[in-house]
Symmetry: C2
Subunit: 88 residues, 2 copies
């Protein structure tokens, strides 16, 4: 298995990681135990990973982080949307 | 700002992102709204990012993902530990 394949698998896992959290948050309509900082920092972080990937011409970094950026930006919004939970 | 600097900032953000979640989970002793899949997939994903970083000799990828690996492995454990929550 070459480096690019491992990079693509790594990127796929870290990208899809936030999808079950988005689904769970939308389904339960609760975001009490989620720290706002995680999706917020991840959204900013993966945006920079995409820029870094462009600069070093690294395809796995660019493609896979786009999904993660979308999910974490959405989770940040959902945390605000469900902010009337008892334990914020 | 060169590519390595951007990569280090990106890696720092995505690494420290899980720290506030670890702190919050330990403090509230609740992990109800957290999907087990996010920390689990992230732990496996960043472990592969570290291997990928080693293969392409990319220092930002290696160093920054080590913190993320520790945090997400811990969060996966905490989700199991606090599994007696009402909404798992």
């Amino acid at each position: 298995m070459n480096a690019t394949t491992i990079g693509l698998i790594a990127g796929t896992l870290t990208s899809v990681a936030a999808i079950p959290q988005v689904v769970k948050t939308l389904r339960t309509r609760h975001a009490r135990d989620i720290s706002i900082w995680q999706p917020l920092l991840l959204a900013f972080g993966v945006a920079l990973w995409i820029i870094y990937g462009m600069l070093i011409h690294d395809l796995p970094l660019i493609l896979t982080n786009i999904i993660s950026l979308g999910c974490n930006a959405l989770l940040t919004g959902l945390k605000f949307y469900y902010r009337d939970d008892t334990a914020s």
